[in-house]
């Protein structure tokens, strides 16, 4: 009776992993449900335990049980870690993901689990903070702020209640590392938070998970209950988001946990000094906290040895969108964008040429292939007018209309704006209107592109022109028909609006929306009907 491993990850289930598991169980196998290995074109994946280790077959269906068990199945992959996609990786944080049964405490302990916590508890809090500083770990959520300095501030804050908050509101399109880790190796995150609690003297921790991740919420709650005795007196609790992307911003997240509207707070005060319930709070992303057990168990130097420039350690990059080998690729900083998209990602899934990639979710910039030389490093991307964010890379083939993507960036901002600050609350809606005018003007002079689907926010399509009637005269300079709707004027207005949003907004939602908009406009002017030679439209 052979043991087989089938992923219970939400993506695997979406592709039918449950039916596969049932089929093998019906065939009498002992089925162990694991996290996902992180390469989705081979899912649903089954690994069969044999003398030479676990042999993978994928993708497979419920009807392939016999072919898999007798090894004759066409999609036999051999040992998964030998596949090129996995061999090149440096899985410090995701070492156990896809291997162990996520909620089995023994399986976790057998693979180096709790070692980091034990070592941390043997050290004084200051020593633990020093280790995190020495590792060079920076915020994996996107801000890239040195995690050790944040912890130091909370440790130095006066005694009394302190909190550890994990930002698991991973709302960026193209990112799923947090989801995979929480579903695949929940104790790793719990161990990281327990170490943080010991380091700064916190008694209570919250994990704020977005409601769009139901599997994460269930797995984390089960894991917290099972491991409560191991992390005591530190108490952990999951709090579910409610469909507001802006709650990925740390202060909006804190307000949300406090039972309020997820509105962004002004800083200062910094959350490290006045965070949750006004108390000193460590607030870090899932990946930042999940990297900590490795730093304590293997030593800060081992973590810092890997990396590029001031970006030390590994970054779990997520390849998404129109990409052949979509999945999770944990690698040290420094690897170039081109290697990630073409060698590792294998280009587009549609087979058409890659025209653009968006790095860092809906607020990240679009990069044309001409910029694929860029090394994956916070500073390098910043200089190139973009950002790493949560390291999600969304690939587009040449059927993409960059004007529509710029419009979608504004529409997404309008849909998710918390409504507190003027540049974002009003600017995003005006941005959609400007893009509608540009696209309408462009489509008069060029073949019509597929009609954009109306976004949730009320974007106006009709423009009631008043041809100089009484109202027109009364409104004088502001009369609709005196507004210059030429592409050149609207493009300049778009740049002015982007400037106001970038430097005026209270947080990154309004502040970074100009990244995708301006990068699309700068790198793909042809899609905006600009004077540059219009590329004949893709069929």
């Amino acid at each position: 009776m052979s043991r087989v491993f089938v992923s219970r990850d939400m993506a695997s289930v979406a592709l039918g992993a449950d039916d596969v598991a049932r089929a093998f169980a019906a065939a009498g196998c002992q089925v162990v449900r694991t996290g996902s290995r992180g390469l989705f074109n081979i899912e649903p994946l089954v690994e069969v335990e044999t003398e030479e280790g676990r042999i993978g077959f994928g993708p497979v269906g419920p009807a392939d049980v016999a072919a898999v068990l007798d090894g004759s199945h066409a999609n036999r992959l051999g040992r998964i870690e030998d596949l090129p996609f996995f061999a090149g990786q440096q899985r410090f944080t995701f070492a156990r993901c896809g291997i162990i049964d996520p909620v089995d405490l023994n399986d976790y302990a057998a693979h180096g689990g709790w070692l980091g916590l034990e070592k941390a508890r043997a050290l004084a809090p200051q020593q633990v903070v020093d280790a995190v500083k020495a590792s060079g770990l920076r915020g994996r959520g996107g801000a890239g702020f040195p995690t050790g300095i944040k912890w130091q501030t909370v440790l130095d804050a006066p005694a009394g209640d302190k909190f550890i908050v994990c930002n698991a509101d991973e709302g960026d399109s193209g990112t799923f590392a947090d989801r995979m880790l929480m579903e695949g190796d929940p104790y790793c995150l719990i161990e990281g938070m327990a170490i943080a609690a010991h380091a700064v003297g916190a008694g209570h921790g919250y994990i704020y998970i977005r409601s769009e991740y139901p599997f994460c919420v269930a797995t984390m709650r089960a894991a917290i209950e099972a491991s409560a005795h191991l992390v005591a007196p530190f108490v952990l609790e999951v709090r579910e988001g409610a469909g507001a992307y802006v709650c990925g911003e740390e202060t909006a997240l804190l307000d949300s946990i406090e039972g309020k509207r997820g509105q962004v707070r002004a800083k200062p005060p910094l959350p490290a000094l006045q965070g949750l319930f006004g108390r000193p709070t460590v607030i870090n992303n899932v990946l930042s906290l999940a990297a900590v057990p490795f730093i304590l168990s293997e030593g800060a130097e081992a973590y810092a040895a890997v990396g590029f420039g001031r970006s030390r350690g590994t970054m779990p990059v997520q390849l998404a969108g129109n990409v052949r080998h979509g999945g999770l690729y944990e690698i040290g900083f420094g690897i170039t964008l081109g290697e990630l998209v073409n060698e590792i990602g294998g280009g587009t899934a549609s087979g058409r040429p890659v025209r653009a990639v968006q790095v860092g979710g809906p607020l990240g910039a679009y990069f044309p292939p001409s910029m694929f030389h860029l090394p994956f490093d916070y500073e390098a991307f910043a200089q190139a007018g973009g950002l790493i964010g949560h390291a999600g890379i969304t690939v587009f083939d040449d059927s993409v209309d960059m004007a529509h993507m710029a419009r979608f960036a504004m529409e997404f901002c309008a849909a998710e704006s918390c409504g507190k600050c003027t540049p974002c609350r009003i600017g995003s809606t005006r941005g959609v209107e400007i893009m509608d005018r540009i696209i309408a003007e462009r489509d008069i002079t060029a073949p019509v592109r597929p009609e954009p689907v109306e976004g949730r926010a009320r974007a106006s399509t009709s423009s009631a022109r008043t041809e100089g009637g009484y109202l027109g005269k009364a409104l004088y300079s502001r009369a609709p028909d005196r507004i210059d709707v030429s592409i050149e004027a609207q493009t300049n207005l778009l740049r002015d609006l982007a400037d106001t949003m970038k430097y005026g907004s209270l947080c990154a939602l309004g502040g970074f929306t100009p990244y995708p908009v301006l990068s699309a406009l700068d790198h793909f002017p042809e899609d905006f009907g600009a004077s540059a030679p219009v590329k004949e439209a893709a069929e």
């Binding site: 993506a11 193209g174 989801r179 409610a242 039972g259 997820g262 998404a320 597929p450 109306e454």
Partner: protein, 150 residues
């Protein structure tokens, strides 16, 4: 439902930070949060009705009207768009006979937008009554339509 509120707060606590967990529990229990229950929630957590109304109307999940018998949450984010999400959205609206963001007139199915389910390499994706469905194409859409017709 009013006693559901008092029982829940008696068991899980009545401090202000319990508001979102309570609203989630009410969603699970009744599918939506009726405006008439806001006074009971406010009393239980010692908040004003304005506080509670402000929170309910802020978060997309806290619906104030009955949901469809079936709910299809279709992802509209960039990764799914890169894999043909926009076309699938148009097709779904037509096939299911309901506009995006609405509940069908007969209350049978609701088509809702969602910005990213974290399945960004296998889009277009959707949550059908809470169950993830990936690589949606015409055939998968047909299966979903039959399922939600029941």
């Amino acid at each position: 439902m009013e006693d559901f509120v008092t029982e829940w707060t008696a068991r899980h606590g009545a401090t202000r930070d319990r508001l979102l967990p309570l609203l989630h529990a009410m969603l699970e229990e009744a599918g939506y949060i009726d405006d008439a229950l806001v006074p009971a929630i406010a009393r239980a957590l010692n908040l004003s009705r304005a506080d509670v109304h402000g929170v309910i109307t802020f978060y997309h999940d806290f619906r104030r009207t009955a949901p469809g018998r079936h709910v299809v949450k279709l992802c509209r984010a960039e990764s799914c768009q890169a894999r043909g999400g926009a076309a699938i959205e148009a097709a779904a609206a037509k096939r299911l006979g309901v506009a995006m963001g609405e509940v069908r007139a007969d209350g049978q199915v609701a088509l809702e937008p969602v910005y990213c389910l974290g399945l960004c390499a296998i889009g277009p994706n959707a949550l059908v009554d809470g169950r993830p469905v990936g690589r949606i194409d015409a055939a998968v859409l047909e299966r979903i339509a039959l399922e939600v017709a029941a």
